[in-house]
Symmetry: D2
Subunit: 224 residues, 4 copies
């Protein structure tokens, strides 16, 4: 598993981070990771995994896998396929791509089987506690109403972070907990750490920034 | 909440238990419940709830609710609607109707809000433990590969029952645990109790029986 | 099949038309249908079908069916079940409950098999033309962006109605075409007829009206 | 659009055609396409598109796209993303990945907008006729019960092919019609042409063959 504290940048399906522009983002993040020794991860669309991996130095995650087995599953995202493309981990059950409980469990089992770090996204304390019972590598709590917004979850609802950390650790002490939604600055990252989180998951805060390098440097500074 | 130990008969969408034949099943179960004082519940299709409720004496559950709010949700099963028809509880996330994790959580919240007992179905120990984090009224563990089969889960895989009981109680001691899949006899019910379960959930074992009354009497005898 | 021109009131999952209040709406509509000889239909939640049917005189539709066969389909809406409860037709693929193409086809086949009038909802001219290839009883074109709004589709986008009528009739001349979205007045009903539609499908215009009887009388007057 | 008659090989999610083995299949097909001038296409998983495209000479399709717009659609397959990776077309609504009617329509619109050939899969004559109303580039009729089997649709149910061709052409004369399911030999390809089809869509017949080159040469010979 990747080191914590960690910053995972999910580039979603923004045109600003699709194709060559996903690779550009991975290059920038890889350079900063090498320079600062911070633990950074980029989560990209499946068609962009191999090109981002080819740069080296930065762990690349898939944004989603399906729990299907190899074979007759046309058009689904096979864990073995993202692994073959070089991904080392995957988001599961992102707010924009919710899965059935039994499928989250199956995705984690499949991720373990092929050697992918599993990051299950959740929306509140109860689902974070539930996800802990499934023993993923990490859980990322993101209140849907704050995603893509201007106020960090660590400011808008700090209790949901600290309560999720407590709930998860009460069920599965070894599972890491990240937080996300509205995270944009180093201060937000520091606040996440103070609330017990092992890192942050963010997207628009980096992808939509006018100066992506400046934002990333600020976020990394917040890890200290 | 209904008393435990409990026997919940899910009549599914069998023609043998649709419309007037659902009502006949509810009548038979109501008579036996009155006579034996056993805690019996029937889970029926939404269009059959009110007629089964009208018989009196037997608690009627819905087989499913959707987490949607009142309003513009054409064709979805509103918790308020099944409650208005007289249901006092509902299955959630049945093996044949799996839901997303966030929706299971929302269904339980909605069931609590309108006053419905919530029975979340699960497929293994991990998802049972996960469901416990959501604090439903009951959890019913049913290994999918044994559902509709000839061998009771209590014989084929007793460990999945006792381990689910342990896992659920470790997270939420107040949540009741049922088991199901292949349950057909009083012996199976007794075995479920010995494994720590608070009752059974079954379907074909009763609905498809040649002599439904005989099977129900045998199941009830197993509660002792 | 019900007579055209027709007015179908879909009461959705509004609390104002759930349980006893669905029955009250059916009673009012039944009285007006008897008095005016207009062809009126109410589409209700499955748990309210039997009580609305029990009133007599007004055809009752389901808001949705699933294409599943009888048997092991817990929590799905069986065509046989809504038929047993007394429904004579059903909406299929409503804007708030979209279905897969193959499932729309299967729902129509199942509706025919059990004797339910099938009304397939569509969102534009292309999908209306596509639906015509499946030979439902009726097609109801409703632009999603106008549903629940204040301006009738017949005013906001009359071309989508007349073009849908033309497209459907070019593929299947016997299939009736309704329109909906924002329909509220007798004028809207008359406009629909002028555009070639065989009736209207509406919801909030009636359910949310302060004086439901007045609105219904106005709508009926527009049929002339 | 690619030339017809055409042979599209969908490599599904077989391990035999994932990662480097997808590239090997694309290389073999590219060589045969150059040598024979036959119109061949490979449809691969999204994570394998760019590596297959990098070989040159063989058009590469995606197996699936989602109708979502760019932006906040984590884990969905963006048309722009598969295009950026070099795909020139896509399957839509494959038997193993069915879509809602409105989403098939939206996928075709999105495919057109980004410049992808659209191949909509269907399961019977009615859905083929329906799909024609949406004006995709091609329609591939594949009876689900014959997919992956040993008998070609052209032998087992030739009428479904010729009737689909007739139905599609009656609605949209410019839309090409392919057939698939059980197709394995040049004879099957020839039979498809005789039934009016513009080519075939196949998977296991090639991927699972002991001698893939031999099977491909036989299929290509059947195009004459």
């Amino acid at each position: 598993m990747e080191q914590t504290p960690i910053i995972i940048v999910n580039v979603k399906t923004y045109l600003e981070s699709t194709g060559p522009r996903a690779v550009a983002m991975a290059r920038l993040m890889g350079t900063l990771a090498s320079e600062t020794k911070a633990s950074l991860v980029i989560a990209v669309q499946p068609s962009d995994i191999s090109a981002c991996v080819a740069l080296g130095r930065l762990p690349v995650y898939a944004q989603h896998i399906d729990p299907m087995p190899p074979g007759s599953c046309t058009g689904w995202v096979l864990p073995e396929a993202v692994k073959a493309a070089g991904a080392v981990g995957t988001l599961i059950n992102h707010s924009e791509h919710r899965l059935r409980l039994a499928d989250i469990d199956a995705c984690i089992t499949r991720a373990n089987a092929v050697g992918l770090t599993s990051v299950v996204c959740t929306n509140n304390v109860a689902t974070s506690k539930a996800a802990a019972g499934l023993l993923p590598s990490m859980i990322a709590i993101e209140p849907p109403e704050l995603i893509g917004g201007d106020i960090s979850v660590t400011t808008a609802d700090p209790r949901i972070v600290s309560d999720s950390v407590k709930a998860v650790k009460s069920v599965a002490p070894g599972v890491k907990v990240l937080c996300g939604a509205g995270v944009k600055t180093g201060e937000d990252v520091t606040a996440a750490g103070r609330l017990g989180a092992d890192g942050v998951l963010l997207a628009s805060g980096v992808v939509k920034a006018k100066d992506q390098e400046k934002v990333l440097r600020d976020l990394i500074a917040g890890l200290r």
